[in-house]
């Protein structure tokens, strides 16, 4: 039987034509180079404007001063020189990242199953959704006094705030995904003899994955916001704590180095999630070669 031949000619879809990773890699580098132009230009102008004169009455340090403060912060000897944070950069990064990861893990462990159940089961939706919608408008910053009162000045309070911040976008997007699973996919599974549990595990969850990842990426942004806010007030360590402390000490060079660090960590963690998403949803991306 030769039915395949006629159509295979008209559609260039061939199972052997999957890989274009190499091509994508080349594109990626060029994109990266193009994206670096604007920031470099800003840094250069900023340096030129600050040299010889003073930016905003000397409040704003030039990039070279920021770089040298950053270097001391990262590699200086502890407790030496004018920089009280000397040598503590790695610790701060680890503190903050750990908190984000912990809050993130809690939010995903609670948020994804909750979202799936709300989207899939009308009873759960009726019982849980109204309460969620009522709590959601309260911004995580408004939860700060509550967190401090309940957990004290501790890491747990920060993790609670982060988990809360990540939880909402994850649960809302997961709900959307589970609620809008294509009806015929569920019917097809029923027709092939799948049980309700099979449908949940093999149809609803995979069909919701794209929405779940959307929620996770939005949640990651909220997570970094939450960790900085929490560390400014509710904990005495981490990038947020250093940021606020350095501001009080008038160390704007450290403040800016800290801001840049947060930006880099946010970008790296987002890229990491994107990589996981590309892997998990490779079935969706393979058609880009047509």
């Amino acid at each position: 039987m030769t039915h395949g031949a006629h159509e295979a000619v008209t559609t260039s879809a061939r199972p052997s034509a999957y890989g274009l990773a190499a091509f994508r890699g080349g594109l990626h580098l060029r994109k990266l180079a193009a994206g670096a132009v604007l920031p470099l230009l800003v840094i250069l102008l900023w340096q030129l404007a600050g040299t010889g004169g003073s930016l905003f009455g000397g409040v704003l340090p030039t990039p070279d001063r920021v770089a040298s403060a950053w270097y001391t912060w990262a590699f200086g000897n502890r407790g030496m020189g004018m920089n009280p944070y000397s040598g503590s950069w790695f610790d701060s990064v680890v503190f903050s990242t750990t908190r984000v990861l912990q809050g993130f893990a809690v939010a995903l462990l609670v948020g994804i199953p909750t979202g799936i159940m709300i989207g899939w089961n009308r009873l759960v939706a009726g019982a849980v959704d109204p309460a969620l919608q009522m709590l959601r408008p309260i911004p995580i910053t408004a939860w700060l006094p509550f967190a401090i009162a309940v957990f004290g000045i501790s890491s747990i309070g920060a993790v609670f705030l982060i988990a809360l911040g990540v939880f909402y976008p994850v649960v809302i997007n997961t709900t959307q995904g589970a609620r809008h699973v294509e009806r015929n996919l569920v019917r097809a599974a029923q027709m092939m003899g799948a049980s309700r549990l099979d449908i949940l595990l093999r149809v609803v969850i995979p069909a919701s994955l794209p929405s779940i990842f959307t929620g996770v990426r939005i949640g990651l942004g909220t997570g970094w916001t939450a960790v900085i806010v929490a560390e400014m007030i509710a904990v005495k360590s981490g990038l947020g704590y250093v940021l606020w402390d350095a501001y009080y000490l008038g160390r704007m060079d450290v403040v800016i180095a800290d801001m840049a660090t947060i930006g880099i960590m946010g970008l790296l963690s987002d890229q990491l999630i994107l990589m996981i998403e590309r892997y998990a949803l490779s079935w969706r991306l393979v058609n880009s070669n047509r």
């Binding site: 030769t2 395949g4 159509e7 879809a13 019917r187 027709m191 092939m192």
Partner: protein
């Protein structure tokens, strides 16, 4: 005994303005018979198929399958959907073996059947491809193969080729004729395409406008095996003319515009 017996089946969708989709439809389908339900879009023929499949409940009447009232959907009635409805996260092979895996069939058994069915629909080289890499026609071949691996006692097809281009549709119709010639499964085939109905079916049931009734049943006595060459024979064209006349009476103006 007929394999499918539908008697006085009615379906009303409740609501502020209740919609009468089916108005006491009666129809028997014999073992191994190929039946086409023909009518314009929205006339209720898909509702009838969905009730047969167990996806929707009936309001009144009786639907029996092998003598038993139809219950919820199951592998004895294989459904082929209009847009194939494949799981996009599974490879072609995993899509085709989904049914047997759900029913606990042993791996060596279903692997062999799946390979046979993929060969039958001309896709054995595409077992590891994802649905997003296939054309519409190829996806529908997978949709047919994944139903055939379950050895269903009836095939329910809901405008399976309606979304395909004309040429692909012809090759899919030929494929289906070949498969049916071999397996002789009972088929209920929903379509709005007169050529398709006459080419494939032993009997064409023309549905009236909503609320749907069966306006007329026409037995197609063209010899088998058939092929797309039959589309231009005088006998074929006579059936087509007769059906068009019935449709014109059943759906003034609208039916002809839909073609």
């Amino acid at each position: 005994m007929a394999r499918i017996e539908i008697s006085s089946l009615a379906k009303v969708y409740p609501g502020p303005k209740p919609v009468n989709a089916l108005d006491h439809v009666s129809l028997d389908v014999a073992e191994g018979e190929f039946i086409a339900l023909l009518g314009p879009s929205g006339c209720g023929k898909s509702t009838l198929l969905n009730i047969l499949a167990g996806f929707e409940s009936k309001t009144e009447g009786e639907v029996r399958f092998d003598g038993q009232p139809v219950g919820k959907a199951g592998p004895d009635r294989g459904v082929v959907f209009q847009e194939a409805a494949l799981f996009p996260w599974l490879t072609v092979f995993d899509n085709v073996t989904f049914g047997p895996r759900m029913q606990g069939v042993a791996k060596p058994v279903y692997e062999k059947i799946a390979h046979d069915m993929l060969a039958l629909v001309g896709l054995k080289d595409f077992a590891q491809a994802y649905p997003s890499q296939l054309s519409g026609g190829m996806r529908q071949r997978v949709g047919i193969a994944r139903v055939l691996v379950m050895k269903p006692r009836a095939l329910l097809m809901d405008e399976p080729f309606g979304a395909l281009d004309a040429q692909t549709r012809l090759s899919m119709q030929e494929l289906l004729l070949e498969v049916w010639q071999r397996l002789k499964t009972t088929v209920v085939f929903v379509t709005h395409d007169i050529d398709e109905a006459v080419l494939l079916a032993d009997r064409v049931c023309i549905m009236s406008a909503r609320p749907a009734r069966i306006a007329r049943q026409i037995a197609i006595d063209l010899p088998r095996p058939r092929s797309i060459d039959d589309l231009t024979t005088p006998a074929f064209i006579r059936y087509k003319a007769e059906i068009m006349q019935v449709m014109r009476d059943a759906h003034p103006a609208k039916a002809i515009a839909a073609e």
